[in-house]
Amino acid sequence: MTSLSLGAPAAIGFGEKIWRINWGLVLVLTLIAGIGSVALYSAAGGHFEPWAAKHAMRYGIALGLMLVVALVHPKVWLSLAWPLYIASLLLLVAVDIAGKIGMGAQRWLVVGPMQIQPSEIAKVAVILVLARYYHGLNREQAGRFLYTLPPLVVILAPVGLVMVQPDLGTAMMVMLGGAALLFVAGVRLWMFLGAAVCAIGCLPIAWSFMHEYQRKRVLTFLDPDRDPLGAGYHITQSKIAIGSGGLFGKGFLHGTQSSLNFLPEKQTDFIFTTFVEEWGMVGACVLLALFALVLIWGFSIALRSQHHFGRLVALGVTAMMFLYVFINTAMVMGLLPVVGVPLPLVSNGGTAMVSVMFACGLMVGVNVYRDAQLPLAR
């Protein structure tokens, strides 16, 4: 920095922006997506079709999107936060209505050749809106109860709409991700305690709103041996696959549980199991370590940001990433009920890949524009 003038540092050049992109992080993300392709290749019985090739291709596109997003100035996102949020809410309502008409769970809208999952957009939109909101508050305001009410509404509106779909996993992610943001933004601890008490009090109500299959999943989670061939089948088979992998795994393309179809949803929610059966605990730890690296990168970006919006966005994305990884892996290992959360960049599926890479783009963008000056307008 050569400018000694007060306040705003000089706008940075394009080369500097490129230089500031966390290329190490990009490498880690690419490695994760690569592991995804390997696992999908194996899940298809040693074929690039129908998943592995498309996965790699989709990652390429999503990576391009991420780099573009990273180079967009945060002030753009600051101003787009609310429109994006409102749009995602409208789309969620549309999906709910379509689901009512189509009888049963409906989570996406078809627009031309694309399937859009509005809940994925909502995840990112909630992060942006909350970051924007707290960006405009000082510490004292952030700690006040009244100032906490609007963020609560911001979080609970999409949560409610997602629950109706019903998509317990996404609802849980938005709620916990939002809570993490409120926590770092400075909401008083007693409010979290109160919320926790409220949540426990509301459990019976939530129970009554749940679908039969969701209740079954929760009960099965609490006692998987209740019905080992019915609802507990998925968890039991997944645990067998992971456990039988042992330290070094059964070897690439030698997983029996997944190749013989004992694993349900092996290419989506249970891709971690497919991978771990063949690559063992060593492979699992490598994959988890790569995700841990992403999280550490996220924290360091958040901590280095000069503006509060950036901090909150980076941290929100990190929290979202963590929740994805934790919920998915804990679920396939029988630590959480089966809720239908994919493993980011590894599971087959386009929308989640795009939304995760978009979020990562926002995070990297925070690093690129870490010393930008943003208006405090609410």
């Binding site: 770092v184 509060h308 405090l376």
Partner: protein, 643 residues
């Protein structure tokens, strides 16, 4: 007005603290995941590996080929034929309902079969398949194969079904197989019997030699996927086929006897009777016909309800092997046993003359002789050849029921033989204690009279009549009937043993002179002009005949229903009675006279007169048997290539 950085230092400090706290929490949770991995993949790895193997590897038993059954000349009696069947496998019936519905559309299974399938599959473990339908034609097989993608767990399997080329003819000897029942399982822990495709001998030799014919299970280890479809074979141990057996039956003779029995009853309302031909030296059963027979192939392919009911309701009882399970009053054929008992006990000797005035009175009851006019005075030879009832009333009275019982036991009455076929009846040899136990009434003189002519409480099977005749013909040796000529493991040579000329049976310790007297009586039945079956003489029509074929016999006509005095007075003839009330016709014979080798018994149910109805059959069958004697012919055993 745009404000910058108002109190930013303050809130960034808080942010940093809380972010680090959050990061720490996340790290802790990530470590928990690693801990869980350690628990699953290191601590419990062994257990989960086993579970994964159990998921993947499925041991299936292979049913061995059932042993083949041949007659003594090497002609096939029971063989195996390929059978295409549809199988369905699933894990405890998960998700099979849809598949069963689709199968129903293709094969029209019917509700009963669908229910059975569902039950069997719910019970089965480890994708043990159930049989959907057997004996498929090519069209059905191709329809299943065509629809295979929509039928997870369904596969075509080539099994074997029993085939009986001469089904009707040997149905009672060979028997048939059926699905394994709970009774069959008792006392047997062969895992093979748990196979749904397994068949178990139900009747005849299939039953009595079940443990030899079954063979040993093979096993195949296969890798299956989650819907039970076999992905590949990992290991295979072939089973060991069951032993092949040669029976003592001569199929051609069996056919001859069967045809002869049918021809003799051509005019009868029902055709029902038996022929048993036995080698008196070895005990080999050369023919054992029980008419009518049934088609065992119907059982092999699965009998329908109507077919089963039809067989059960037939008044001639086709399912009943009358040669061993039918019990008849032996009538006059039993007189040879009484004569032997009387001679052995010393009650009479060769010179004892007993008179026949046409009837004997005991108290106020008249015991009639079949020859109303009376035979006059007769010795034992004349008593037998004329079949004089009065002679045997008196001989029996002199001998007593106990001594008669002793001799009858030596000759095989009142007991199950060593033949080994299931369902053999011991008949009934009445005794004092038997009557006391059964009716709580002491034995009466009149009972002894009736026993003397083989009537009253006395019953015997056609097999027992053949055994009696054999033991008299072979000079008093305890020969036992036998159906199994040779047995060999699948790849060993199956050949009949060399013929024996001397019996290996023990002696019954009967005076040979007494046996000679009885045999002479039986000789005169045929070969004396006064004999009851003199019309059966081989040279009766003046055709020259090889003296080596001369034979001896005894006729018998057994009352089914007591002839009342009124009927006797009215002179009602047998032809006027309904079929089921007419007398049974019996005939026993042996030959050749000079050097006996074969014995034969014939029973024609409700055939009215032994000499007239059963006699010609016995004569012709015995003659055919003697003509087929191996000493007169080249070795007729064909080494079958199919072995």
């Amino acid at each position: 007005m745009i404000r910058f950085r108002k109190g930013d230092g303050e809130r960034s400090g808080l942010f940093t603290r809380r972010a680090l706290l959050l990061g720490g929490t996340q790290l802790t949770l990530m470590s928990a995941l690693a801990g869980r991995l350690y628990q699953l993949q290191i601590l419990e790895s062994q257990r989960f590996s086993t579970l994964a193997e159990e998921n993947r590897v499925n041991v299936r038993l292979l049913a061995p080929a059932r042993g083949l059954i041949f007659d003594r000349t090497g002609q096939p009696l029971a063989i195996n034929r390929n059978n295409f069947r549809v199988m369905l496998a699933s894990d405890r019936g998960r998700g099979v309902e849809v598949v069963i519905e689709r199968l129903d559309q293709i094969l029209s299974l019917g509700e009963a079969d669908k229910g059975r399938l569902l039950r069997e599959l719910r019970r089965s473990r480890n994708f043990q398949p159930a049989v959907v339908r057997e004996n498929l034609g090519w069209e059905e097989v191709s329809r299943i194969e065509f629809n295979a993608p929509d039928l997870p767990g369904v596969f075509i399997d080539i099994g074997q079904t029993r085939d009986y080329p001469d089904g009707d003819l040997t149905s009672h000897i060979v028997g048939y197989t059926g699905r394994v029942s709970d009774d069959d399982l008792a006392g047997r822990d062969d895992p093979l019997l748990q196979l749904p495709t397994m068949r178990f001998g139900k009747k005849g030799v299939e039953r009595s030699l079940e443990d030899d014919l079954r063979g040993k299970a093979g096993a195949v280890q296969v890798e299956v996927n989650a819907v039970g479809r076999i992905v590949r074979e990992l290991d295979r141990t072939e089973g060991q086929p069951g032993d092949n057996v040669l029976l003592t039956i001569d199929l051609d003779l069996q056919r001859f006897a069967n045809d002869r029995l049918q021809a003799q009853q051509a005019n009868s309302e029902h055709k029902s009777g038996t022929v048993v031909v036995m080698d008196i030296v070895t005990g080999d059963i050369l023919a054992m016909v029980s008419e009518p027979g049934f088609d065992p192939n119907v059982f092999a392919r699965g009998i329908t309800q109507t077919e089963w009911k039809e067989l059960l309701d037939d008044p001639a009882h086709p399912l009943n092997n009358k040669a061993i399970a039918g019990v008849y009053p032996p009538g006059s054929t039993y007189k040879v046993a009484v004569a032997l008992a009387a001679l052995e006990s010393g009650a009479i000797d060769a010179g004892t003359i007993l008179s026949c005035p046409g009837f004997i009175e005991l108290g106020d009851i008249k015991f009639h002789c079949w020859w109303k006019g009376g035979h006059g005075g007769l010795n034992v030879v004349g008593g037998i050849s004329n079949s004089c009832d009065c002679f045997f009333y008196q001989a029996a009275q002199r001998t007593g029921v106990d001594k008669i019982g002793e001799m009858a036991a030596k000759l095989g009455f009142g007991q199950v033989s060593a033949l080994g076929l299931p369902g053999e009846s011991p008949g009934n040899q009445p005794s004092r204690s038997w009557k006391q136990d059964k009716y709580n009434v002491p034995w009466q003189q009149g009972d002894t009279f009736n026993l003397g002519i083989g009537q009253g409480y006395m019953t015997a099977t056609p097999l027992q009549l053949a055994i009696m005749t054999s033991r008299i013909a072979n000079g008093g040796y305890n020969v036992q009937p036998n159906l199994l000529l040779a047995k060999a493991a699948p790849r060993e040579e199956l050949a009949p043993p060399s013929p024996r000329l001397k019996t290996s049976a023990s002696s019954l310790r009967i005076d040979p002179r007494h046996i000679a007297l009885v045999r002479e009586g039986m000789n005169q039945v045929i070969n004396s002009p006064s004999g009851t079956a003199a019309q059966l003489r081989l040279d009766a029509d003046n055709k020259p005949i090889d003296p080596a074929f001369h034979f001896a016999a005894k006729t018998g006509t057994a009352q089914v229903k007591r002839i009342t005095e009124r009927e006797r007075a009215m002179g009602i003839t047998q032809e006027q009675l309904p079929w089921h009330l007419r007398h049974h016709a019996l005939f026993v014979c042996f030959g050749p006279i000079d050097n006996p080798r074969y014995a034969c018994s014939v029973v024609v149910e409700h055939g009215m007169a032994g000499g007239a109805t059963a006699g010609p059959i016995g004569r012709d069958v015995l003659l055919e048997t003697m003509k087929r004697d191996p000493s007169r012919r080249v070795d007729r055993f064909r080494k079958t290539a199919s072995l």
